[in-house]
Amino acid sequence: MSWGIKSAHAFSSPGRTPAECAAQTNLYEVDVGGVPGPKLDARLVELTGRRARRMGRFMQLAVTGAVEAAKKSGLQLPPARTGVFLATGLGNISDLFPFSHAVFGDPGFHVSAIQFANSVGNAGAFHIAQALGLNGPVLAVSQDEVSFEAALLQAVTLLDGGDLDLALVGAVDVVMPKVSDHLARLGLPPDAPVKLGEGSAWWVLGPVGADDHGVLEDVTLGFRSGPPGLFATRDFESGMNYAQSALYPTLFLGTAAPGETFETTARTREGLTGFTRVVKGAGRS
């Protein structure tokens, strides 16, 4: 079975070394995919109004990416028959960790009740649904490097079962305020030779149509032997983050010619392997 990708939108960071990240006084002000923090704030306010004013970086990226994808589709999303499926490897760490530090009494952090409420796993999905006026299933799924594939499988299960007409599916991950903490959380040593990034990539999925931006031909998830990492038909300049298996096919769809195929394989350190195959469609997004 295949599913139509009605639209897609992504923010992608070109990647910075841990040393470059550490030199930033505030990582959440760095450029992400050419959209500097203040510009992202402004766009978010354009898209959602004053709702955005209490959001941390993670939710800013989640809501902006999802709402942009929804708007690009040009579709009226039926409120009760559109699902929201938010995938994240590390979660909303831009609210969660400042809140943890504040609770533990670490200097420089202040406790905030709304920050606690916003730190729950589905807070980003909640704000997306609220911004778009949706009341169908709103889920949050976390599964390391294959979080996007896990979320896609939720979406296609409900689409195939007739529960939904459309699904807004995306992956979001951000860098923790302290880079050494972030590397530890990824299971990497402090001197790991990596370029870190942030990302938010979103698709509107539905039944296959003639004007689709692309077609999702396959999505699978299961344990397969092989090296951990991300393997794709071709690479894109994107700093390492757990949303990459969503970013790559999204970036492909933005540059490919109709009929081109793109395959992505992501594998965790334990061997849990996600696979997607998309074909560029005739539509633009």
Partner: protein, 378 residues
């Protein structure tokens, strides 16, 4: 449309009452609560907080030990585990061990050596899959207090579509200072005692637990019929008190399950003991059941609110009680609230001869609202 049957083949729960069905049925039949003061050694303060303090001295291994105990108790063979899919629901997962280390070191006057090596919540499924040789797809749901309710509904959908052969569903949450202080900040934590649906209710109390169950296609004495997942767009930390969303998800779950409202033997309410949740749910029960809901109870004053684990824990323990011929009462309830005519069951109550369909509710932060129906044959 006739639903293909899905059996809940095995169940397990690890709480302060123990790790067997008999221990839980005995405690619930006696109307006991597991809530008691937290040991000060955990650095959480002398709080009336958790139901899981006794009998587990695992230090930072606490979440791992809970998962190990619950999954082993399912009794699946290595081959069965290998071909299973894993559906985990949690809010904090194994990352709770980081906080345990932090609090222990801080109490000992040691500097904090940050060790955020637990990763995101998905590491919880990654751990369980590795520890037990599960090779099917793994999903970790993080929809706050509805996490394992979502897991159960999605697992049933995937089984019926033939995407998976068997589902192992795990709910796990460990008491954390971060959660405790967060609920306090929101003025949702009761210092006096959790009293679901009571006029004097003033908040929830936290618990910790791990519960697990196995879903397979086929017949069995305990069946997961079907469920529904809706979204309440009102507020991130509170449902809409008119109960419209909560009533709609209950009605949808029953319709999908092929069950008429009058056929429901009892409702396992979400019943946190917070002012808004309980009023929302009472109004919703009234709407969904045309003013005459079946008997309903909350287990939050028995186990504490075990957050992402709560739906799994309450399904497992409630269905054990139903098999034993009764539904549990709501510990701590004394006085009906002014805004509703409904009152929960106070004492454990025999089921009699009513058809054994039970409706399970789960609501929570982030607006996800879930109901699902389970049939218990006796």
């Amino acid at each position: 449309m006739t639903l293909s049957p899905i059996a809940i083949r095995a169940r397990s729960a690890v709480t302060g009452f123990g790790d067997t069905a008999a221990a839980h049925v005995e405690a619930l039949k006696a109307g006991r609560t597991g809530l008691k003061a937290t040991e000060t050694s955990r650095g959480l303060g002398p709080l009336h907080a958790a139901s899981m303090e006794a009998g587990l001295d695992a230090g930072e291994r606490r979440p791992y030990v809970l998962i190990d105990t619950a999954v082993k108790a399912l009794g699946l063979s290595k081959h069965e585990l290998k071909e299973s899919a894993l559906f985990t629901g949690t809010t904090t997962g194994i990352s709770a061990s980081e906080e345990i280390v932090y609090l222990r070191d801080k109490a000992a006057g040691l500097p904090w050596q940050a060790a955020f090596t637990c990763g995101g919540q998905g590491r919880t499924s990654a751990y369980a899959a590795s520890a037990f040789g599960i090779e099917g797809p793994c999903f970790t749901y993080t929809t706050a207090c509805t996490s394992t309710a979502v897991a159960a509904v999605m697992a049933a959908r995937m089984l019926r579509q033939g995407r998976i052969r068997r589902a192992v569903v795990i709910g796990i949450d460990v008491l954390m200072k971060m959660s405790l202080e967060g609920f306090r900040l929101l003025q949702l934590y009761s210092e006096a005692g959790c009293r679901p649906f009571d006029a004097r209710r003033d908040g929830l109390m936290l618990g910790e637990a791990c519960a697990a169950f196995v879903l397979e296609k086929g017949d069995g004495p305990v069946q997961l019929l079907d469920g529904a997942i809706h979204h309440d767009p009102g507020h991130i930390a509170a449902g809409s008190t008119d109960g419209i969303t909560a009533a709609a998800v209950m009605a949808d779950a029953l319709k999908r399950s092929g069950v008429r409202p009058g056929e429901v033997a009892a409702v396992k309410a979400h019943g946190t003991g917070t002012p808004t949740n309980d009023l929302t749910e009472l109004n919703a029960l009234s709407v969904a059941f045309d003013g005459k809901p079946p008997p309903f109870s909350s287990l939050k004053s028995t186990f504490g609110h075990t957050l992402g684990a709560s739906a799994a824990l309450e399904l497992v323990t409630w269905s054990w009680c139903a098999e034993a011929g009764f539904v549990p009462g709501t510990h701590g309830f004394q006085q009906r609230i002014a805004e509703s005519k409904l009152v929960p069951l106070i004492e454990p109550t025999p089921l009699g001869n009513r058809r054994g369909v039970h409706l399970f509710n789960a609501f929570g932060f982030g607006g996800t609202s879930v109901s699902f129906a389970v049939e218990v044959r006796r």
